[in-house]
């Protein structure tokens, strides 16, 4: 777990390498572990990475992970005022508190939800998967239309392989490798890591410089800050946990929402932007809480709360620990150990993060032009190691180029990943539902829970359409 934490620290603190990428790179290692240590590794890495993203944010004004982007301006302003330790120390403690709060929410709500979820049948699962995917599309950056296209692409890629109802190979073009479907881990590594490699190689921007400043006592002044902003901590953690629970919305969105709320309700609103620590408190708590919240739908329903949990669900499936309410019945000891792991990982943040802050300047000295080829090689070996075939590397390459082109043109990549992961589940439940209802579409609303979920999803779909129409009509009037 210690190694995982260091790994997370390393990746998180380097701008451009995200927590999701850290998880994707970690997967080949977790492959050979038992489920609980594997989850322990992932959780520790991600918790550390999300916090570590604050370090270059404060020192270089470049967020190490998107979750830190919300408040990196504030943190940098604090550094320029000479208060780096305050900024980083606050982030650290709030991250730990946020993580623990999120874990509490996770362990309390998950079993309750699971009892409720036992009653689910294919109709409910279908609507739930739709809900998750719709959330992801609506919340994703960029236009909703493009998000929807990304989703469809992801779903399409998921259909490659042997069909569920008839066993007929689809879109395989005779290749034996393709019959197994597109393995999502090389796809993930490709989409997050390789596209980043390509972006780096073609970028014409000059390298950034580090603010040279010794880092002194980290924890001094933290107590005062925390007691002044008690309410912010609780609020940030709550927002983070709830947003994290929403499928598709993860730590980054939690941080942005929390920062905005903090600014809105703050008594010192003008101080925001000049190096004010309040925003850091809120958003720092939120993004770590969001991480734990994201695991709630993942464990209970098998629906990922964000891209990291999407990867984790894949790992769990591979180990035979099928996420979903049945896990609570058949293997409850696994779930309980997962909860304990969450607490430990978030508490371990404090000592490890402290060391991290001390060494942060050293870590940032590793130049990216050395790091990128090393990462490339890790990716190649990682993709190969999943199925021990070079096809994984081909998948990684294709997906990497695709993701680069997509992001350049404003198509978000997250819905594609979610489509890839949830595609089989969606189709499975859709087909069973259709066959059961014999084509009668009202069958999807026949059960109370299914009907509620169905109406929710349709309402969700209606919102962007209505907004679009309203915008078009409003423009016509002007």
């Amino acid at each position: 777990m210690l190694l995982a934490a260091l790994f997370g620290l390393f990746i998180g603190s380097i701008p451009g390498l995200t927590a999701t990428m850290a998880t994707a790179l970690l997967i080949p290692f977790t492959f050979y572990m038992d489920p609980v240590p594997a989850i322990a590794c992932i959780v520790t890495t991600v918790a550390m990475a999300i916090f570590a993203g604050d370090i270059p944010g404060a020192l270089l004004r470049i967020p190490g992970t998107p979750a830190s982007a919300a408040y990196c301006d504030e943190a940098y302003a604090l550094t320029r005022k000479g208060q780096t330790e305050l900024a980083l120390g606050t982030s650290l403690v709030c991250a730990a508190i946020g993580g623990v709060m999120g874990s509490l929410v996770l362990s309390l709500t998950a079993p309750v939800l699971a009892e409720f979820a036992i009653q689910f049948s294919s109709y409910e699962y279908f609507w739930l998967a739709c809900l998750g995917l719709s959330c992801a599309v609506i919340i994703s950056t960029g236009s909703t239309l493009k998000g929807f296209v990304s989703l469809l692409l992801g779903l399409f890629i998921a259909t490659i392989g042997i069909d569920i109802t008839a066993g007929h190979p689809r879109f395989t073009f005779g290749s034996v490798e393709m019959m197994a479907g597109i393995s999502f881990i090389p796809a993930m590594i490709g989409m997050f890591a390789i596209s980043e490699v390509i972006r780096f190689v073609v970028s014409t921007a000059p390298a950034e410089t580090v603010v040279q400043q010794p880092i002194k006592k980290v924890f001094s002044g933290i107590g005062i800050v925390l007691s002044k902003y008690k309410l912010n901590v609780v609020r940030g953690g709550a927002i983070g946990a709830v947003v994290g629970i929403l499928p598709g919305a993860g730590a980054d969105i939690a941080a942005w929402i929390s920062f905005a709320v903090s600014k809105r309700f703050s008594k010192d609103r003008d101080k925001f932007g000049t190096g004010h620590v309040e925003g850091l408190v809120d958003a720092g708590t939120a993004n770590n809480a969001g991480l734990s919240g994201a695991w709630v739908p993942a464990l209970v329903f098998g629906i990922p709360g964000d891209s990291i949990t999407a990867i984790a669900i894949g790992v769990l499936y591979m180990k035979g620990m099928n996420p979903g309410p049945t896990v609570f019945l058949s293997q409850p000891e696994l779930i309980h150990s997962v909860f304990v792991v969450f607490f430990l990982a978030n508490l371990a943040l404090i000592p490890l993060g402290f060391i991290a802050i001390r060494f942060s300047r050293q870590v940032l000295r590793v130049p990216r032009n050395v790091l990128i080829p090393i990462i490339l090689m890790f990716c190649i070996v990682g993709s190969f190691a999943i199925n021990n075939t070079v096809f994984g590397v081909s998948v990684m390459l294709v997906m990497g180029v695709l993701a680069y082109l997509m992001e350049e043109n404003g198509f978000p990549v997250a819905p594609t990943i979610l489509g890839l992961v949830l595609g089989t589940m969606l189709e499975d439940n859709f087909m069973s539902s259709m066959i059961k209802a014999d084509g009668d579409l009202m069958g999807f609303f026949s059960r109370p829970i299914a009907a509620t979920l169905g109406i929710l999803v349709i309402a969700l779909w209606a919102v962007p359409i209505l907004r679009f129409l309203y915008g078009a009509i409003a423009n016509r009037h002007l």
């Binding site: 050979y32 008839a166 073609v202 050395v370 043109n409």
Partner: protein, 161 residues
């Protein structure tokens, strides 16, 4: 490399039509009206609809932009041979690994790819070789020895066995 939305929409529409046509070749089970073609077909129709919307949007954008509208906006790196070569090198390295790794072996390929890329991205020759050697060694120990992944030995098979 930003393409006008109309171009992307166009590609999607063509792709969707190709896909839907291809799904007609899927067989269906007797007595079962819903077969393997249903879901891909729904996806295809979805892509058709969104592709058309994108085309409309792209054309509107171009009209609105007037003289400044472009079909393709090349990035600032196109035309700078340094970056173009680097990009081609990365892609070529991956393709080379895919085709040659079995024959050449993991360690030689890794050393080659790493040293070339490190050198091209700015490190000196000796530093590149050093880092390449260390990284290859670390990767080999971690994956081949600890995790028992069958990385191909290739040309070194004579030495190892």
């Amino acid at each position: 490399m930003r393409f006008n939305d109309a171009l992307t929409g166009g590609v999607l529409v063509i792709f969707a039509i190709a896909e839907i046509t291809y799904t007609r070749t899927f067989p269906s089970l007797f007595g079962q009206s819903y077969g393997p073609d249903l879901f891909p077909r729904i996806i295809g129709y979805g892509l058709l609809a969104t592709g058309t919307l994108l085309i409309a949007r792209g054309v509107l954008q171009k009209i609105r932009a007037g003289a400044q509208g472009r079909w393709v906006a090349l990035g600032p790196w196109v035309g700078q041979s340094h970056h173009e070569i680097n990009l081609l090198l990365v892609l070529f390295a991956l393709i080379a690994y895919i085709f040659l790794s079995d024959w050449v072996g993991f360690m030689p390929m890794s050393m080659l790819i790493l040293s070339v890329l490190l050198y091209r991205l700015g490190s000196s020759i000796s530093v590149s070789l050093l880092i390449a050697a260390v990284t290859t060694a670390v990767l080999h120990v971690m994956f081949a020895k600890l995790l028992l992944v069958p990385l191909p030995t290739g040309l070194l098979t004579g030495l190892v066995y």
